[in-house]
């Protein structure tokens, strides 16, 4: 059985997406949730690069991935800034403590 590069990348995409989603679902720690998000978005980035290759337009796929890196970094910065404030105000990073608002 031969492993082509696109196939390997596709497996990588699915692995990253699965790991990210699973991490988000099982974790109770805000920082770990941010890490889960990061892994999820890395999967999406790899998917964009792979799509560029499959479509025969590698440079467009890569430039989209670069843009996503920038946007994703900004989101992570905001998320971590929120985490700092959560730690200060709640005294914990446990996501279950973040349920003071009524349904």
């Amino acid at each position: 059985m031969s492993l082509s590069l696109p196939l390997l990348a596709a497996v990588g995409v699915l692995g990253l997406l699965g790991t990210g989603l699973l991490g988000l679902l099982v974790t109770r720690n805000l920082i770990k949730a941010v890490v889960g998000l990061q892994i999820l978005v890395k999967g999406a980035m790899l998917a964009l690069v792979l799509a560029g290759r499959l479509a025969g337009q590698i440079q467009i796929g890569q430039s989209m991935a670069l843009t996503v890196i920038v946007a994703d970094t900004i989101v992570s910065v905001v998320a971590l800034a929120l985490a700092v404030q959560v730690r200060r105000q709640f005294g914990t990073l446990d996501l279950q403590a973040l349920s003071t608002l009524r349904r």
């Binding site: 999820l40 999967g43 608002l101």
Partner: protein, 511 residues
């Protein structure tokens, strides 16, 4: 003014003004302990943006669209983008006036104005995006500014909690959109909306990757548009944000999510019958869940937040009818309701915010505004109470206010489909509209017929600057109720355009 130049300024002005507002506010704060220049600059920048909006709008209505090419990126303002841009800028301008007293001396006031103006700019851009990835970039920029505004009271636990929930859910949604984009790109080799539409045109069923991409767009943008199982962040975020921002979030941000979703689904038009059916199904869910949850709320802003969920349902019905059956009247009703909802819900949140400010915030308390607090408010705050009354009655769909007119237009379009299922859905929507009065009417009753609550008795006055935008919006809600035809000039071209994107050729019936 040259339309291309006007569009350039329309996009650039808010984004250029935002850092200037921040720096001016910061400098003045350092020098004299007041961020006043930020307040005025924000209002001036937004008012100035209305000028290029006018020239762009004129050209769009004349020629159908205005294009702008920046390097490899192409932007195109069409009727749909024009409605979004007009609604966004008008509401943001009113919110910036309202916030002057509301946010006065709040820590980080200048950041609030800078973010408010840039959020408006990103939504205008979102309406102009002409390729899928560009759409995502604007969408993400809008999301980031709104995260920061939701968690603006960064020492309040509630605001932090709301911010975290909103950020995590939105970020997952936007990752889904990216995967959808990757699938479309891998399959078609292009991202420009019309080229994708041309590339996927073919016999049904569409290849699985493209159908999956559509589902991912529906979920990803659906988080921001608060489609029902994905709406859980909304009541927290919309009730914990500063009131002006609540008005923005409910009035235009979720609708911008909806417009982004329609644009993305539009390039997978061969499946429009399925997309239409899904929009209708989500519409029904949104209405019933939003209304039932709103019924049991004790906080005013939380109740309005759930009511936004249900109002998004009416828009979904209108657009679902347009997308699934090619009936342009449905889209016209949907766009009219979008514009109307920005007015009505903006007014409701701002009037509630004015009372919240008078009763709690001005006295140094961050308690939420409870429904009980409104008891007897009409005696002490007659004009604010009147504005809130008009807003909730319009939201409840009482004729002859504007909310009735747009719902009516959507319902009539539903009957045009001649489909029993849609007709039942429309009747269900009408029942829901009556149901919503079950939580709006007691609010009015409390304000006018109850003894003043302790909070009202101790409340401070509402300033003129806060009252002015309320007065303008109240008048607009009444005027649009009597003359709904005033906005036909912008809703009809947008509706015809949207239906043509989805492959329909429906003509507009006259009422």
């Amino acid at each position: 003014m040259n339309p291309t130049l006007a569009l350039t300024w329309l996009l650039l002005l808010p984004l250029l003004a935002s850092p200037v507002i921040y720096l001016a506010g910061r400098a003045s704060f350092r020098l004299g302990k007041s961020a006043a220049p930020a307040r005025w600059l924000a209002a001036v920048a937004l008012a100035a943006t209305l000028v290029p909006l006018y020239y762009t709008g004129e050209a769009v209505l004349r020629a159908g669209s205005v294009s702008l090419q920046v390097g490899a990126i192409s932007l195109r303002m069409d009727g749909v983008g024009l409605i979004l841009a007009g609604t966004v800028l008008a509401l943001t301008f009113l919110v910036s006036i309202f916030s002057m007293p509301y946010m006065r001396r709040e820590e980080g006031e200048e950041k609030h104005y800078a973010l408010l103006v840039s959020m408006a700019g990103t939504m205008v851009g979102l309406g102009c995006a002409n390729d899928l990835f560009n759409l995502w970039v604007w969408f993400e920029a809008m999301a980031v500014t709104s995260f920061l505004l939701v968690a603006f009271y960064r020492e309040q636990r509630g605001a932090l909690e709301a911010g975290v929930k909103y950020l995590v859910q939105s970020a997952v949604g936007s990752a889904f959109v990216l995967i959808g984009i990757a699938l479309v790109f891998a399959r078609t080799g292009t991202l420009e909306l019309s080229q994708v539409a041309a590339a996927v045109a073919g016999p049904l069923p569409l290849p699985l990757p493209l159908a999956a991409a559509g589902a991912l767009f529906l979920i990803g943008f659906g988080v921001k548009a608060a489609l029902v199982p994905l709406h859980t962040w909304l009541p927290d975020a919309h009730s914990q944000a500063p009131s002006g921002i609540s008005a923005m979030l409910s009035g235009v941000v979720i609708e911008a999510g909806l417009v982004a979703m329609l644009r993305a689904l539009g390039c997978l038009a061969p499946m429009s019958a399925s997309w239409g059916a899904m929009l209708l199904a989500f519409g029904a869910l949104n209405m019933v869940v939003g209304n039932l949850m709103a019924l049991r709320q004790t906080q005013v802003k939380r109740m309005f937040a759930y009511s936004s969920v249900s109002h998004l349902g009416y828009m979904l019905i209108g657009f679902g009818v347009a997308v699934g059956y090619g009936i342009a009247n449905g889209a016209a009703g949907g766009f009219f309701h979008l514009l109307n909802h920005a007015l009505m819900k903006g007014l409701a949140f701002m009037a509630a915010g004015a009372l919240l400010y008078a009763l709690h915030i001005s006295r140094g308390s961050h308690d939420p505004l409870m429904i009980d607090d409104l008891n007897g408010a009409a005696g002490k705050y007659p004009l604010t109470a009147l504005a809130l009354t008009i807003a909730v009655l319009a939201l409840g769909g009482l004729p002859p206010l504007s909310g009735f007119m747009s719902k009516w237009q959507i319902f009539v379009a539903g009957f045009e489909t001649r489909s029993a299922a849609v007709e039942i859905l429309v009747i269900f929507a009408a029942i829901n509209s009556v149901l919503s009065l079950a939580y709006y009417a007691p609010l009015v009753n409390r304000m006018y017929r109850h003894e003043p609550s302790a909070a009202v008795a101790a409340g401070r006055s509402v300033s003129v600057l806060m009252g002015a935008p309320l007065a303008v919006m109240t008048i607009l809600v009444i005027v649009l109720g009597f003359w709904p035809g005033l906005v036909d000039a912008i809703t009809h071209p947008a509706a015809v355009h949207l239906v043509s994107i989805f492959g329909g050729v429906g003509a507009l019936a006259r009422f």
